[in-house]
Subunit: 231 residues, 2 copies
DNA sequence: GTAATATTCGAACGATCGTTCGAACAGCCT
DNA sequence: AGGCTGTTCGAACGATCGTTCGAATATTAC
């Protein structure tokens, strides 16, 4: 009954639709999910949904675009101020894993419906994906370059895709593994990748565990059911 | 015009349909692909296709079941006679990567449509997946146990999923990376995983490169357009 | 109060989906 | 020739799909 606690803004309802859609797409596949399913899940009418998106494809685009945009902004914040490639690599890994765990539905939609969008939507998503991948490639190249080993095989680019594979495969893990503490998962992946990729020093390995940190910022902008607070 | 060269058996036509379906499912997604698309691709009539499968779901099941069955049989042959966990691990990795590269369409369908099948079909595929995963888990456990480190983190089970992630993510790589020699890819993945996972010895690392071997057997049983010959 | 605006809805559109069915055609046996 | 079996097909079924549209309802402005 307080003055503005009752009113629900457009943005909040919009986000509610996007969250429900991401959950459905994640668990049932994009093409298998009908707009009618989403209407049922959000307890809205079929046509009423089209007030929040122009088409089913644009709905997927909204989810993926927002997820990539938040991911990019958030990782750049996390990397800001770090100086050594070793710190940056550890931070990138723990950030990605933590983000993945906090927004599993959206990240699964990002990974699983990777090439679902064509045309202009697909182009824009691809561009965001390239930008995000490039961040990791550059870190890995600098990491190996400390020891002058950046031209060895596997190339920094291949290394990045191998590392993305370890991390993005998370959503297929059985639940008892998938829901272990994100720090444990991030540490496991970091240890395997760092120690195996050319250029790891003894001190890198020694200080690995203490530098894993998986907390994160809010995802959707509304106040409701926020995923958690910052560092 | 030789007596039996002209005749096309049921099995050959069946396999032709399965191969075309796997290619369509891999490039366009299972739910996005219609039976009419498959009819067009195989230059058959819509109803004529149902002579080779009972339903679209059973068609996907046939593809996945055959892929897992061949994969299992083939990896067990490759592992037979090997004694050390180190040899077995290297062989598993190079076999999986080689198999993946030789049957990219089918393996993408296996990975990407992992949970698409429900009911009895889904159960049977899940059972095959479990059996295949268990092979790798057991190898990794034995690998770490040589040095008494099988209880360290990451657990052999988590290690297996991390390793599967590296390998199964292959189908999302850009083409210029995806089509590098399979031995190079397998070596990169093997090096990263072996050196990072607990229990790797100095001699393991030294002999790594020489033990990578990615050739493989025939996939579909027909003679036509076989993928290649033996070891 | 009334008017303007923001939001939701029911009903229906044409398109496409997976599947079925009986007929047609092929090749082989006698 | 006729009959049998394996293979293919055209046409159609009911169901469901994404989307549209004008009307109804809430909300806000005056």
């Amino acid at each position: 009954m307080s003055p503005r606690t009752q009113g629900v803004t457009y943005e909040e309802k919009h986000v509610e639709v996007l969250k429900a859609a991401a959950a459905l797409f994640a668990h049932r596949d994009f093409h298998k999910t009908s707009v009618r399913d989403l209407a049922r899940a959000t307890r809205r009418s079929l046509s009423g949904l089209y007030y929040y998106f122009a088409s089913k494809e644009e709905l997927l685009y909204q989810i993926q675009h927002h997820c990539y945009a938040t991911l990019l902004e958030s990782v750049e914040t996390a990397l800001a101020g770090l100086s050594t490639p070793h710190e940056k690599l550890l931070t990138f890994i723990s950030h990605h894993v933590g983000y993945f765990r906090r927004h599993m539905d959206e990240m699964k939609v990002l990974a699983h419906e990777d090439l679902t969008l064509g045309g202009e939507y697909g182009q824009k998503i691809l561009e965001l994906k390239r930008r995000y991948s490039q961040v990791l490639v550059d870190i890995i190249r600098a990491y190996a370059a400390r020891e002058g080993r950046e031209r060895e095989l596997p190339s920094p680019e291949m290394g990045a895709f191998i590392l993305f594979g370890m991390m993005n495969w998370l959503y297929t893990w059985p639940k008892r593994l998938r829901s272990r503490p994100p720090e444990e998962v991030a540490e496991a992946i970091a240890q395997i990748f760092l120690c195996g990729y050319p250029g790891c020093t003894a001190s890198d390995q020694a200080t690995l565990r203490d530098q894993i940190q998986c907390s994160g910022q809010r995802f959707w902008k509304t106040a409701g059911s926020g995923h958690e607070g910052g560092t």
